[in-house]
């Protein structure tokens, strides 16, 4: 029983249970996070044995000498604003509709959610083909409606490429917001709605004074999750345009990757990563505090 005595105390048993998850998590998720911060102050090409300290050089370069960095900041901001507006609003509208007693609503819900489970890279490939300026779906449909003159080089025109990608992104992500809102709507007290109806409130008033206030926590969750996932946008841009044409769809996550893994400037790539990380933390940390306070209040 020597093995038993080793694991006798609850504490040591607990440590055995915790060790694999915490060990792998710390090494493969937390250490790279620390290392990216270290790398951002160094000059390294990924191969040299020595990583040289250069202080703030990488930050100076990306902030003052790298026009693409600012393009990717601008695109990330546009993308995030659009992601916080369109998928959640559409998702909320679909959820409110599906919350009614309707024929076939389980199938409708399944259809809206389907794109969420398709690999983002496959979504990119699908939409790239749909945007094909000669034989793609949009060109064909416009032509058959007699609107062929409206056909654009959807992904090749630098003024519209970002928005073309965003349409595919909406298609993929609306279902996610919808499911969260549907769950939130389950938590709205049915008797409150009935009471308001008896008191003569119409549909819009019920929504405004009963449903919407009850949905407030869900709305916060959906907005924060939408923001975070929009900052992560990588696969879909990589697959559809790779950041082009002429860097017009470049975004922070992809630019960090391109600098490090494309042209092997790990220092500058990491500096871009750190900028993105700081933006993310500015959203995540207050959110985690809020959700913890809320959980403690509900106990």
């Amino acid at each position: 029983m020597s093995q038993m005595s080793l694991f006798k105390s609850a504490r040591s048993q607990g440590i055995v249970l915790l060790a694999p998850a915490i060990g792998i998590y710390s090494l493969f998720a937390i250490w790279p996070l620390i290392d990216v911060a270290i790398l951002s102050f160094q000059d390294w090409n990924g191969i040299k044995p020595h990583r040289e300290w250069v202080g703030l050089e990488n930050y100076k370069h990306i902030l003052f000498n790298d026009p693409v960095f600012w393009v990717s900041v601008k695109n990330t901001v546009i993308w995030t604003i659009l992601s916080v507006i369109f998928p959640p609003v559409l998702g909320l509208m679909l959820a409110l509709g599906l919350n009614q007693k309707l024929f076939g609503r389980a199938s409708l819900r399944a259809i809206y959610y389907l794109p969420v489970i398709i690999a983002p890279i496959a979504v990119a490939t699908m939409w790239r083909w749909m945007y094909d300026p000669f034989f793609g779906l949009f060109t064909q449909m416009l032509a058959s409606l007699g609107l062929g003159s409206l056909t654009q080089d959807w992904l090749g025109d630098k003024d519209i490429a970002l928005y073309s990608i965003f349409v595919a992104y909406i298609w993929q992500t609306v279902g996610f917001s919808m499911v969260l809102f549907l769950a939130g709507l389950q938590g709205v007290d049915r008797s409150l709605i009935d009471a308001a109806r008896i008191d003569g409130a119409n549909r819009r008033e019920v929504f405004k004074y009963v449903t919407l206030p009850a949905l407030r926590p869900t709305i916060t969750i959906v907005l924060v999750l939408s923001t975070i996932s929009s900052l992560k946008a990588f696969d879909i841009v990589y697959g559809m345009t790779g950041g082009g044409p002429a860097q017009s769809t470049q975004m922070l996550a992809l630019w960090a990757f391109t600098q490090s893994m494309g042209i092997f400037d790990f220092g500058r790539g990491s500096a871009v990563s750190v900028v993105l990380l700081v933006i993310t933390l500015a959203i995540v940390v207050p959110y985690m505090r809020w959700s913890q306070a809320r959980e403690e209040a509900s106990r």
């Binding site: 249970l17 998720a29 290392d35 599906l98 496959a122 790990f266």
Partner: protein
């Protein structure tokens, strides 16, 4: 908890149908239904378009209308795409990585979640915050240092080299969900079993695992799809094309054969199909798995 919720939905759906028959139709609801139906058609259109294109010959693609049914099914698209896209290897790699990663990840997450919820260390809360933090951080920012780390361990182009990071980034969300579930089990139950001489290992295996099967099933399905679809980390960690997973294979197929429309679409269909089938079979688990964490937590 989640099981009860889905049973509620089922009973609600059946009463809904009864009410539909009894009540006179409300014009607002009919208008609503029509608009939801139109949106559903739009949402389904890309999938139909891709599937139809995959079944047409290249000549038919250029001449027939986008949503015209294929006149004959061009199976050659699928066999050619399978061969050219090296699907034998990518399909095997994706399957192998998913089959190892998903159960292993759930096991270590469940163990950690149990320990955090039921054993007092004194620093449970701090450790939980440390783990949850990872659920919010985009791993896309650390692709370069991740490559450096895996490279320094000599694991680039190996299965462990991609499975270990996948495990690490799966832990936070799963621990979060399972911790919420395990915490709801009264500590007295665990304490009584401890007094009877059971170890925490036994309690975890004999009591907590069986009780949490519905949650584990939901997480299993979600994680299957997430692992199957993962692209960015695989792109960095798997350089050798014989080690590629399906998403990497599809990306390269698009690069090389983008003018072979039929084959490209067949490749898309074959990549997406396994996750879609899993989704259609286990639909309700997706919803319960996603919402039990995000909304209630």
């Amino acid at each position: 908890m989640t099981l009860a919720a889905s049973q509620d939905t089922i009973s609600q759906v059946t009463t809904d149908q009864n009410e539909l028959i009894r009540k006179p139709r409300d014009p607002v609801l009919i208008g609503l239904w029509i608009s939801l139906f139109i949106v559903a058609v739009i949402w389904l259109a890309p999938v139909v378009f891709i599937t139809f294109t995959a079944m047409k010959s290249d000549g038919e693609i250029l001449t027939s209308a986008a949503f015209a049914l294929p006149s004959t099914i061009e199976w050659a698209n699928f066999t050619k795409a399978w061969a050219k896209g090296n699907f034998n290897e990518t399909f095997f790699n994706s399957t192998f990585i998913t089959v190892i990663k998903v159960p292993l990840g759930l096991a270590i997450s469940a163990m950690a979640a149990y320990a955090l919820a039921q054993i007092r260390f004194g620093w449970n809360k701090a450790l939980l915050v440390f783990v949850l933090f990872g659920a919010m951080i985009p791993f896309q920012v650390m692709l370069a240092p991740l490559f450096t780390l895996v490279n320094s361990l000599d694991l680039i182009d190996t299965y462990p080299g991609v499975i270990l990071p996948y495990l690490a980034f799966g832990v936070p969300y799963q621990v979060f969900i399972l911790h919420g579930f395990f915490r709801a089990v009264p500590k007295e139950l665990t304490e009584a079993a401890l007094i009877d001489g059971a170890t925490h290992f036994t309690i975890f295996r004999r009591i907590f695992l069986p009780v949490s099967l519905p949650v584990l099933a939901a997480l299993l399905i979600l994680d299957f799809v997430a692992t199957w679809n993962e692209f960015a980390m695989a792109l960095v960690l798997l350089q050798d094309k014989h080690m590629w997973t399906l998403p990497l294979g599809l990306m390269s197929f698009q690069g090389q054969f983008s003018n072979k429309y039929g084959e490209l679409n067949a490749a898309i269909v074959m990549t997406v199909l396994p996750a879609t089938i899993v989704y259609l079979i286990f639909q309700r688990y997706f919803v319960s798995g996603l919402t039990s964490g995000a909304v209630k937590g």
